[in-house]
């Protein structure tokens, strides 16, 4: 972490004494194969009984769809997710055509109809899995339309206007994607993260400790942050302290002076995009023994964080809270997470005035472990509008360069990240996409019972064992790498040497539903 002072000079003596050695995680890209036997692909390969096991298909397929292990009588099930489908027809290695007995068929996978939704299409989920597996952008031949969803508005209708040729030719290593989180020049550390995103707050309770620790490890590898959410601070997170944001939310679950002193960033969570104005929800089934202990709550009861902070009814009250945290932790940066009401611009400026370093706006279509359905769709505006609104207001007030604007709530891909930055954000917070990388199918069943059947957003001891930290870490490191590559690709096309140059460049965007001749309109 790029800091002006050594950590020993900043940390209070008391904290230094309790500090544990910090983990190092290599930013190494390695294959992280899916943890389920039958990974879902866009296409499905069917092998009939006509197969004579000649091995021709396995021999010609460069993608490794057909596996014929020596010593086995039959082929293993085809690896559907590796198949490029009918795009292969034009090549000289199309197994269906080359099979001497015509035993193979390739078709669109009908199961993709049941996978995903308007915002997270099946293609986007499959592509995210692929990125998490390989660490690279899915090759074009797979035909995955993953850069945009199918929601028909916002990011999904925005496109970049790439020039035919970059104005300046840049190498990959000449392009800088890091962003600064403290722009206030207030003597607090100038924290820089290597990528313009960090991990969203997911509490222990809403997700398993394996998920939390995987996120934290990946944050270390990419020199960015993860956030504890408001469910307390696991002891096992301590080796990751330097890359952890801890949340002070309205329920104050697990918030202690000691946990506040451990971390470089403290986030005040006023509201969450998926349930603006409604506080937090952890339904009783997920409040297991370990969760209850961490939150100092009674086992099995539903935990609702109230809304709002009952000690905050003005910006001055907010400032009082910030001063309290700043006093307890002299090196901490303060992030303020708010939702996107009509007056989100005023809230952002007010928060700046109160002394926050990072304003984090969480749009109405953000993720959640549990939220009333009525809130998810209906309350507060999508973040696409809010970014432009807040950025514009901060510029007009002359304080834009003294605050870091972070957006979240529906950021799914590297293209969304770039679009959010072009609309005016400095960086973004991601959450759902990390979970998708870990194998989430967005079945929306995170909230009750034993929690996530896929073992990601669960506190059930058996289900949580479906995943290992090493695997989860690698999947996230890989996903981040693919996004990083994609971002660099975008910047390169524009001839930009840093992500900061993209900020607020709405002139580089176009909207599919508009005439895109704003000059003429004026």
């Amino acid at each position: 972490m790029a800091q002006e002072k050594k950590i020993e000079e900043i940390l209070p003596e008391k904290t230094l004494k309790t500090r544990v050695p910090q983990t190092e995680v290599a930013r190494e890209i390695k294959p992280a194969p899916p943890r389920f036997r039958n990974e879902i692909g866009k296409y499905i390969v069917h092998r009939s009984n006509e197969c004579i096991r000649c091995g021709k298909c396995a021999e010609v397929c460069p993608y490794g769809v057909h596996v014929y292990k020596s010593g086995y009588k039959y082929f293993a099930s085809p690896k559907n997710h590796l198949c490029i489908g009918t795009a292969c027809e034009k090549t000289d290695h199309y197994c269906v055509a080359l099979c001497p007995t015509g035993a193979l068929k390739v078709a669109d996978n009908p199961m993709t109809e049941g996978l995903g939704d308007y915002r997270w299409t099946a293609d986007m989920i499959i592509a995210t899995w692929k990125m998490a597996r390989t660490g690279d952008v899915p090759p074009e031949e797979y035909g995955l339309q993953y850069q945009c969803g199918d929601s028909g508005g916002g990011f999904d209708q925005l496109r970049f206007k790439f020039p035919d040729k970059p104005p300046i030719e840049l190498d990959e290593d000449q392009i800088n994607t890091s962003i600064e989180l403290n722009r206030r020049n207030d003597g607090r550390p100038k924290i820089k993260i290597d990528v313009p995103w960090y991990g969203g707050g997911m509490s222990f309770g809403s997700v398993s400790n394996v998920t939390q620790l995987s996120k934290a490890s990946a944050a270390v590898a990419w020199n960015t942050f993860t956030c504890t959410g408001e469910g307390g601070y696991m002891e096992r997170m301590r080796p990751f302290d330097d890359h952890v944001i801890t949340q002070v939310a309205t329920g104050l679950f697990g918030v202690r002076e000691e946990t506040i002193q451990r971390v470089p960033i403290i986030e005040f969570k006023y509201a969450q995009g998926a349930k603006p104005g409604l506080g937090g929800h952890l339904l009783g089934d997920k409040n297991t023994v370990s969760v209850a202990r961490m939150r100092e709550a009674v086992l099995g009861i539903s935990l609702f964080s109230p809304f709002p902070f009952h000690s905050v009814y003005s910006i001055e009250d907010h400032m009082k809270h910030i001063d309290w945290i700043k006093h307890i932790n002299k090196r901490a940066l303060i992030a303020t997470k708010v939702s996107t009401p009509t007056d989100v611009d005023m809230v952002a400026v007010g928060s700046y005035a109160a002394g926050t370093h990072i304003v984090h706006i969480d749009g109405g279509y953000g993720g959640t472990g549990a939220a009333p359905n009525i809130a998810k769709k209906n309350i507060a505006m999508p973040v696409e509008y809010a970014i432009d609104k807040v950025h514009g207001f901060l510029v007009a007030e002359g304080v834009r360069d003294e605050i870091t604007l972070i957006a979240s709530g529906g950021i799914r891909t590297a293209h969304d990240i770039a679009k959010a930055i072009a609309l005016g954000a400095d960086g973004v917070v991601v959450g759902t996409s990390e979970l998708v990388a870990l194998g989430c199918v967005r079945c929306t069943r995170c909230e009750s019972g034993r929690g996530c059947p896929r073992g990601i957003a669960t506190t059930d001891a058996v289900l949580a064992k479906k995943m290992y930290i090493e695997w989860g870490t690698q999947r996230l490191i890989n996903l981040y790498n693919a996004w990083h590559k994609e971002l660099i690709g975008i910047l390169r096309k524009f001839g930009m040497s840093s992500i900061g140059q993209l900020r607020g460049r709405t002139d580089l965007l176009m909207h599919l539903d508009y005439s895109n001749d704003v000059e003429a309109k004026r």
């Binding site: 879902i40 809130a375 704003v518």
Partner: protein, 469 residues
């Protein structure tokens, strides 16, 4: 502090097998008979439940579809024999407005009386038409505390129906003059008549029992009412008779026990109001106006008359203008009427009730924001009884919800549960908006954001003119 409005509820399971969105197709052939079969590992135990269902099946008229769509078994099966698919019965329910998702969430609320909660973010379209083209606002800092949790104050959903004097005259510190009748309902909702195309068995007893349990009012047809039945008299406080032009008034002694009467709009409405008031001066009379091409103009015109106290505007079942080629949506027509009445300076003299297309609790909140004082609902209550809205209510056709055999306690319980869940959700959105009273929410468009406005302010400014849809 007045007494809190509370609806007593209890879970009422469905009578019919649930129609879920997903099903798993099991090819069986080539099964390896693993000892650790993925079916045993289903987190929701759906395979075992399905087996039990089939084992106890006496009448093959509905399949079992209760898969949650997590893909775990599909992805873990040793031989890859399981496939997930969308249930065609689910997809076939309702129509483009009353979508399968609306029907499913209504069933859930009628069963549990709880606010539907789920994980993951919103997965639907960015925006839509009608009510989907607006968002309610939220207040980041200042708002009332949430009812029942840290309650220093609570959120009132009460509304008044009837004419309110715009000023009071005091004599010797006491208000003088004649006060028009005014009735209060604990939430801004009235139960409307179930549309005639759903030719059902008589749901009258179920509906009036629901109105009584929820302390609301149901609009009923006097032709369906047995005036001799003394048991029915106890419900008169909770019903409003609808009198169309040809229907004569109910007996005087019956009418005098009701609080609200609704009459059809025709050329003689003023005479009819006079007649009804002469029978029962304390009744409030509502005029039902169909929202056809002339509907909004007629509502505005009637609103200006001194004799008119309540106007009930009704769009078609999907919230559209009736009988026009390019229908406007009910929310836009409400805004037009509401704004016109404000411009005339008479908005507070009139109670505006709106119905048609109110399918979800957020529609109730949004309708009120657009300018209605309260809403009427019909089809959601029918769906609460597990109706599929298959639109085939014809003699001889088999009803998938078996509506011909409704136990009144089941029916009223399910409808009551649904209304209780809607009430709780109204409180949720009002709480988020920082609104403490449903009365104050009326017409407060500042507490909402409209798609067209946000688009123009943001993308219109950045990208020029929006192409026509």
């Amino acid at each position: 502090m007045p007494e809190k409005y509370h609806i007593k509820t209890k879970p009422i399971p469905p009578r019919r097998p649930r129609v879920g969105k997903y099903g798993v197709v099991d090819w069986r052939e080539d099964c390896a008979r693993c000892h650790n079969c993925v079916k045993k590992a289903c987190v929701y135990d759906r395979y075992r439940n399905e087996n039990d269902y089939i084992r106890n099946l006496t009448d093959v008229d509905a399949l079992y579809f209760d898969c949650m769509g997590c893909f775990s078994c599909v992805q873990d099966c040793t031989k890859g024999l399981l496939c997930l698919s969308i249930n065609p019965v689910y997809e076939g329910m309702g129509n483009s407005y009353w979508t399968p998702d609306i029907i499913k969430t209504t069933w859930l609320q009628a069963e549990t009386a709880k606010i539907p909660v789920s994980g993951a973010g919103y997965g639907g379209p960015f925006t839509g038409t009608g009510f989907d083209a607006m968002w309610t606002d939220m207040s980041e800092i200042v708002r009332p505390t949430r009812d029942g949790i840290h309650g220093r104050e609570y959120i009132s959903t009460s509304v008044d129906i009837g004419r309110k004097p715009s000023f009071l005259v005091f004599e010797e510190e006491k208000p003088t003059g004649v006060f028009p009748p005014l009735l209060s309902l604990p939430m801004p909702l009235i139960i409307d008549m179930i549309p005639s195309q759903y030719s059902l068995p008589d749901l009258g007893p179920v509906i009036r029992e629901t109105a009584a349990r929820t302390n609301l009012i149901a609009i009923v047809n006097p032709n369906d009412w047995n005036f001799q039945d003394s048991d029915q008299q106890q419900y008169l406080q909770h019903v409003a008779f609808y009198l169309d032009s040809d229907t004569s008034e109910p007996p005087k002694e019956v009418l005098r026990k009701t609080r609200l009467v609704e009459i059809a709009d025709d050329s003689k409405v003023l005479d009819r109001i006079k007649k009804l008031k002469s029978i029962h001066p304390d009744t409030v009379v509502s005029i039902r106006i169909e929202l056809n091409a002339h509907g909004p103009r007629r509502a505005i015109e009637l609103g200006g008359l001194e004799e008119i106290e309540v106007i009930h505007i009704v769009a078609d079942l999907n919230g559209n203008e009736i009988g026009t080629k390019k229908p406007r949506f009910v929310k836009d027509m409400i805004r037009e009427i509401h704004t016109a009445l404000i411009e005339k300076g008479i908005r507070d003299d009139i109670t505006l009730i709106a119905g048609g297309g109110i399918a979800l609790p957020e529609h109730m909140a949004k309708t009120i924001i657009c300018g209605a004082d309260l809403v009427t609902i019909d089809l959601p209550l029918l769906i609460a009884l597990e109706c599929h809205l298959c639109d085939k209510c014809e003699p001889g056709m088999s009803c998938p919800a078996k509506l011909e055999n409704i136990d009144p306690d089941y029916g009223a319980g399910r409808m009551t549960n649904l209304i209780a869940a809607w009430h709780d959700q109204l409180i949720e959105v009002m709480g988020a908006m920082g609104m403490r009273e449903a009365r104050r929410l009326r017409g407060d468009v500042g507490r909402a954001m409209f798609f067209e406005d946000l688009e123009e302010e943001t993308f219109g400014r950045l990208f020029g003119t929006r192409k026509k849809d």
